[in-house]
């Protein structure tokens, strides 16, 4: 369980994180979503004791990170993809981390197996692709077999097969009762990976919901094309619909269902050329939540 309570951080005059509160529950994959620069990494750094909050608190299982005994056995974290000494091999990178936490070297081989990196472990990190660095990061996070995982943009640089692999891995980890907290600026990724999503924007809390709820919150609209669009619009307006005219003269109708529209048209002998219910993607919902700013 990760708890963030009224957390704030400013860099000079810029407010990076603004009175942010949320909880991340165990046994689920929770996405931490926001555009680049929304304050995700800063928040994660404060949770992990790497940056000092201006006010508020962030705790893991009730403790601030600094007070955790054997932190790598409690929390596994990956912050960036480039945090490696380029001349060190992947295996040696893990051995250094294991040594600093008193984790036996045999565990290094186990996590290499887990992230399917056994073959490239003896190569130097400077020859690794972004995807391989991500896998190595995950291996580092899993070294201590921790109950909490905090991963910053772990899907970055992974190909679709890699993202599916990541999803399966994270789901199985959450299935074992672990808390999995994953940041991303891409909704599509979150839609595939996360059970819950916490959305922040400009350092402020925007929404927290299950991915399914968020999708359900996505407003549904019906697209209608008719040569008698004006007449149809009037009739639907009388039924309480909100109507917007799209490019090419089609109408985007909200608040009434496609069935109702069809019935109104039939009752008034209006010809329809198109009648289609459209569900907004999570992406569009997200844009709505964050006030229309793009996500990348």
């Amino acid at each position: 369980m990760i708890e963030v309570e009224r957390l704030s951080k400013r860099y000079g005059s810029t407010v990076a994180v603004d009175d942010l509160s949320f909880r991340v529950a165990p046994a689920r994959v929770t996405g931490f979503l926001g555009p680049n620069g929304a304050g995700k990494t800063t928040t994660l750094k404060m949770i992990l004791g790497l940056a000092r909050p201006a006010s508020g608190s962030a705790t893991i299982a009730g403790h601030v990170y600094r007070d955790l005994q054997d932190p790598m056995r409690r929390v596994g974290a990956v912050l960036e993809t480039s945090n490696y000494h380029p001349g060190r091999s992947g295996r040696n990178h893990l051995r250094v981390l294991a040594a600093s936490s008193g984790i036996p070297a045999s565990r290094v081989e186990e996590v290499l197996e887990l992230v399917a990196m056994k073959d490239s472990a003896k190569r130097r990190v400077k020859g690794y692709s972004l995807g391989m660095r991500q896998r190595l990061g995950l291996a580092a996070a899993l070294l201590g077999d921790p109950e909490v995982l905090v991963l910053d943009e772990p899907a970055n640089g992974l190909d679709p097969a890699g993202i599916r692999w990541l999803r399966d891995l994270l789901r199985s980890l959450a299935g074992q009762g672990r808390t999995v907290f994953v940041s991303s600026h891409l909704l599509a990724e979150m839609e595939q990976i996360a059970d819950d999503v916490i959305v922040i924007h400009r350092g402020k809390f925007v929404a927290q919901a299950s991915t399914a709820e968020l999708a359900a919150r996505a407003t549904t609209r019906v697209r209608v094309r008719s040569p008698q669009a004006d007449r149809l619009g009037e009739l639907l307006g009388a039924q309480g619909a909100s109507i917007e005219t799209l490019e090419g003269g089609a109408l985007a109708v909200r608040e009434v269902s496609a069935e109702q529209i069809g019935e109104v048209a039939a009752a008034n002998a209006i010809v329809l050329h198109e009648l289609a219910a459209e569900t907004a993607t999570l992406e569009e919902t997200f844009l709505e939540l964050t006030g229309g700013e793009t996500t990348s």
Partner: protein, 243 residues
């Protein structure tokens, strides 16, 4: 102890920097000792102390080593993982100090051993180390430790590898020499400068009377080294990790 082991493992698993440092040191000391030995005639009074001084070149390398041990974690961004594994940062600093001191002693012992060994083989009986020479070597060893701590403090304060290395070079090889030139004439401050204090402490001969004296110079040098280490610790504890 784990953290010291991890620091040593970091050095061992990224061996190029350390190996280069060691090879350059061995080359300089080897050539220096061979050169001095080949020039030596029976009448050179300071032969033994010159040879020990050549081994003392190691102190420059321990300064660099001190800087590297703390800054390569920052340079490569591995400081994030270091602090995730050991969020009590003061423990990381202590581990780095222990590592730097241990390696400084080792490096200096190797350099002194090489210089003395070459002279022994080259000159045989003509080369006789006295107690005074051994004390001189011991002071060089202590100075090497202080240089390493100073380097570590400087690196921890600035937290940038290039910045710390350039600052050290500019200060010790340029500014301090300029200040010595000016200072000895005008303000008489030269003897209080860190490099000068260390030099006075670890030198073989006696400096002029207006200098601090060996013990005072050693204490002042230790003050600089641990002062910088304290400043560096404070800087590491207070600053956010920006990588």
């Amino acid at each position: 102890m784990r953290l010291v082991y991890a620091e040593l493992l970091k050095i061992r698993t990224a061996p190029w920097t350390t190996a280069t440092l060691l090879l350059v040191l061995l080359a300089i000391v080897g050539l220096g000792a061979a050169g001095t030995s080949s020039d030596a005639s029976g009448s050179v009074l300071s032969l033994e102390s010159d040879i020990v001084d050549i081994g003392g070149i190691a102190t420059i390398f321990t300064l660099i080593l001190g800087i590297l041990i703390v800054t390569w974690d920052y340079r490569h961004g591995t400081i994030t993982q270091t602090f995730l594994a050991a969020p009590r940062r003061e423990r990381v600093i202590v581990a780095k100090v222990v590592t730097a001191v241990g390696l400084a002693v080792l490096l200096t012992a190797i350099a002194l051993g090489l210089a003395i060994g070459i002279a022994e083989i080259w000159l045989g009986d003509q080369f006789q180390l006295t107690d005074e020479n051994w004390q001189h070597a011991g002071r060089i060893m202590l100075a090497a430790v202080l240089w390493a701590v100073l380097g570590l403090g400087l690196g921890a304060t600035l937290q940038t590898q290039v910045g710390a290395l350039i600052s050290a070079i500019v200060w010790f090889l340029v500014l301090e020499l300029v200040l010595v030139g000016l200072g000895s004439k005008i303000w008489n401050i030269d003897k209080y400068l860190p490099g000068e204090a260390l030099r006075e402490f670890s030198s073989s001969g006696q400096f002029e009377e207006e200098r601090l004296g060996r013990t005072a110079a050693g204490l002042l040098a230790a003050g600089y080294a641990f002062g910088f280490a304290a400043l560096g610790t404070l800087s590491v504890l207070r600053r956010d990790v920006t990588q």
